[in-house]
């Protein structure tokens, strides 16, 4: 109950928070997140380059780049490493607009915390914050609203049902 209260008192309309409990120790969770991102990131859906993306890379240091690599060897920036504290805390800047374009001025932030839980578990907490920085980009927001947002999907589903 304590955690419920703690989380509800810190609800920030400017951020999205997620928690996932992983049955793997923190060192493994950290390594898979940072070194093997390309093995699990849904690259088919979430990438920005023209080439087919084959890897997602986080350079292991503050100031390091976070980018995707295409099968043709090209790279596309996603953001940079703002905090690198193995195996407990990682902060990445996310400079990707809502319509999946790189904009170095955007700078929303993703903070990840890896917290040991039980003998072989990790509680991974994610906060994607400073979302108001998307606010200046009304056109993209509208594109999301109309094409790919959950709300947009809801409307599409509704439209199909309504037309049936």
């Amino acid at each position: 109950m304590m955690t419920e209260q703690a989380s509800s008192s810190s609800v920030d309309p400017n951020s999205v928070r997620k928690v996932v409990n992983v049955k793997a120790p923190p060192d493994v969770a950290w390594r898979v997140f940072t070194e093997k991102m390309g093995t699990w990131w849904p690259l088919a859906d979430y990438k920005i380059g023209k080439a087919k993306a084959v890897d997602a890379v986080v350079e292991p240091r503050v100031g390091g780049r976070w980018y995707e690599r295409g099968e043709d060897g090209s790279t596309c920036e996603w953001g940079t490493v703002l905090a690198w504290e193995p195996i407990t805390r990682l902060v990445l800047s996310w400079d990707i607009t809502a319509d999946w374009q790189y904009d170095p001025n955007l700078k929303t932030e993703i903070e990840l915390r890896f917290i040991a839980e039980g003998k072989n578990g990790t509680r991974v907490e994610l906060e994607h914050r400073r979302l108001d920085r998307f606010g200046a980009r009304r056109d993209e927001m509208r594109a999301i609203f109309e094409t790919q947002g959950d709300w947009g999907k809801l409307l599409q589903r509704f439209a199909r049902a309504a037309e049936a």
Partner: protein, 107 residues
Amino acid sequence: MTNAERVLDALGDPTRRTVFKRLRGGARSVGEIADGMDVSRPAVSQHLAVLKAARLVTDRAEGTRRLYVVDARGIDAVREWLDGFWDKTLAAFKAAAEREANKESKP
């Protein structure tokens, strides 16, 4: 009622869907929306009020005219989108980390 339900209710009416679609091309006055439709201006105003309550539409004064536009509510829309995005991405991460942990515990 959740906003999603309000949205569904608001768009449950075919005339309101038409009104909403007409705004997707840009800001329009009640008269411009009603033009060519088989409904009166007061009826269009009523439909706009329902769309506005569902946060599908917002309005602004421009000189003596009141213009209606699609309500972007940028951050809300983005939060919803990111919410789904992170659910999917973290689920994939969890599966990969657990596969790796299993592999390492069985040498």
